[in-house]
Amino acid sequence: MEVKELICINCPMGCPLTVTIDGESLSVTGNTCPRGEDYAKKEVLSPTRIVTSSVRVSGGSIARVSVKTKTDIPKGKIFDVMKEIRAAHVDAPVQMGDVVIADCAGTGVDVIATKSVDRA
């Protein structure tokens, strides 16, 4: 039996979680909502993160449009995703929710704009 102490990162409450791993079964305590349990299990088995960054915009009212991976991606893929984000470039106007990079770095997850940028 293995016990792991984690801090939930789902929201700023930062609940202290205890995961008990007993062979195939996992039990989680310390969470105050169901997200905590999901996070703890995921974090032990295959940790994931949402990646947020920004992408160059041409002809926009500002120089960068903020972006995020639409859902969480495997933690080990963060820098592969970042490599594509850093190479990416869009033309204004951009609408919040627009797909900036489809299927980023083979994760099957799109990178989408999180703000709208008008033409300058």
Binding site: I7, P12, G14, P16, R64, S66, M96, K115
Partner: protein, 457 residues
């Protein structure tokens, strides 16, 4: 002079939420004054996720969270002015602002909501020796440069202070290819949220050195490095513990200060701990009809709580305007009916203009109960309650003075223990709250003070 029922100073998360709440409470004549060229305030540069879990039950980035409120403001057709800086607010709610289209304008407000936010503590406040080379930024400035203006501020960075913005920037710079060597924190605990230590530092193997500070800054034109040393319990550097880090960038994340120059100008005194105005349970300042919310009132960790607090200020300001309007109408009706008034009209109007009208909380018969922060509780917001006009429940927010383990948060009405809640961990970086109910206070009508304290057992 132009008149508006409610004038809101600041179009960030607090101002937007206050505006929407005031409109929903039935006030149509609202004006938001914003100094930037867009609404949304600091959220526009906070491109990371984690916003809105309380308010919208989903995880949003800063710009997405702001967009939700901006959409509501636009839907409700609430007027706002951008690129507009407020120069002065008087005790009797005259607001003077400047912009390029209108020049200098003074308006009379029925109620004012202060929502100016806060700013970062600068290097000058730290007394760090060394030259003033390029490459030293407050964390929020670096955040703006990277996320909005598109500059990579440096390639090798050291971060002083473990506030949330510093932690977020440690990750941000790492993702953009910079090397963040260390985060030094003078206190023995982090000033940021635990989740940010995990996902911004631990995820990327960035060391956090507690009880450490920058004791020397090297470089003349551009920063070339910093010296970090351990500090003793009095925060004095311990000789022999100095370590040199080469770097081209130093980010400072050493605290936020509510921006209250306008409040001071209006003659509103500030709380020494929060650096924000003292307010009652309706978030009304000492000046009648002037309300405060968000980071100008006290620095928050979570925008969700800013929105909640600001909505309350918006509702209360709306109530105040409606009450005043009703009183005016009643007064006019009586005067018209009897054709005589106790005081000559000119005199009472002049008294009102001078702000001589008694503030609501000084009216006789209103029971004013101070909230006392004691035994490890550093402050409370609000600072006092008015039990007569109190809502069914009042959320009291506060911070603790140090990291505590296994302590109770207790509420006392005078010497009577009313509630206690055990907390595994309490930290200054994480705002806490208790809820006081009208029902429970009604059982102790003679309460003279309410104390919130931490207790060991």
């Amino acid at each position: 002079m132009q008149y508006h029922d409610i004038v809101i100073v600041g179009g960030g998360p607090a101002g937007l939420s206050a505006a929407v709440a005031a409109r929903k409470a039935g006030i149509s004549d609202i004006l938001i004054l914003e100094r930037d060229n867009v609404l949304g305030g600091i959220l526009n540069q906070c491109i990371h996720n984690g916003f809105g879990l309380h308010t919208f039950k989903e995880e949003l980035t800063g710009p997405e969270y702001a967009a939700r409120y901006i959409a509501q403001v636009k839907e409700e057709k609430i007027p706002y002015r951008l690129n507009t800086i407020v120069a002065d607010i008087t005790h009797d709610r005259r607001v003077t602002y400047i912009n390029r289209e209108e020049g200098l304008v003074t308006i009379q407000a029925g109620a004012v909501i202060l929502a100016m936010g806060c700013r970062e503590r600068p290097r000058g406040a730290l007394n760090t020796p060394g030259y003033r080379p390029a490459g030293i930024y407050s964390a929020g400035t670096a955040q703006r440069l990277m996320n909005i203006e598109g500059y990579l501020v440096g390639k090798e960075a050291v971060i002083l202070g473990s506030g949330d913005i510093g932690l977020i920037m440690a990750r941000r710079m790492t993702l953009e290819g910079a090397k963040v060597k260390v985060v030094a924190e003078i206190m023995p605990y982090s000033g940021g949220l635990k989740r940010n230590i995990v996902q911004c530092l631990d995820d990327y193997g960035i060391p956090l050195k507690l009880s450490h500070t920058v004791v020397d800054i090297h470089g003349k034109d551009r920063l070339t490095g910093v010296t970090i040393a351990e500090v003793d319990e009095n925060k004095n550097p311990i000789p022999g513990t100095e370590e040199y880090y080469s770097c081209d960038t130093l980010l400072l994340s050493v605290g936020l200060i509510p921006e209250n120059e306008l409040s001071k100008g209006a003659g509103i005194s500030l709380n020494r701990v929060t650096s924000g105005p003292n307010v009652n349970d309706r978030l009304e300042t000492e000046a009648e009809g002037i309300y405060a919310c968000g980071n100008v009132l006290h620095v928050h960790d979570l925008v969700d709580f800013v929105s909640q607090e600001a909505a309350l200020a918006g509702e209360n300001a709306a109530e105040y305007v409606k009450r005043k309007t009703a009183q005016e109408e009643e007064k006019n009706a009586t005067e018209d009916g009897t054709r005589k008034s106790a005081a000559p009209e000119g005199e009472s109007a002049a008294a009102e203009a001078r702000g001589d009208v008694k503030p609501a909380h000084e009216e006789p018969g209103r029971h004013k109960v101070p909230l006392i922060a004691a035994d490890g509780v550093r402050y409370t917001v609000p600072q006092f309650l008015e039990t007569d006009g109190m809502r069914d429940s009042v959320t009291v927010r506060f911070r603790v003075a140090d990291v505590y383990k296994d302590r109770y948060i207790s509420v006392y009405y005078d010497d009577q223990l009313i509630s206690r809640k055990k907390k595994k961990v309490l930290a200054p970086g994480e705002m806490e709250q208790v809820v006081l109910t009208k029902k429970s206070l009604a059982e102790y009508p003679r309460t003279e003070r309410i104390t919130i304290r931490t207790e060991v057992e």
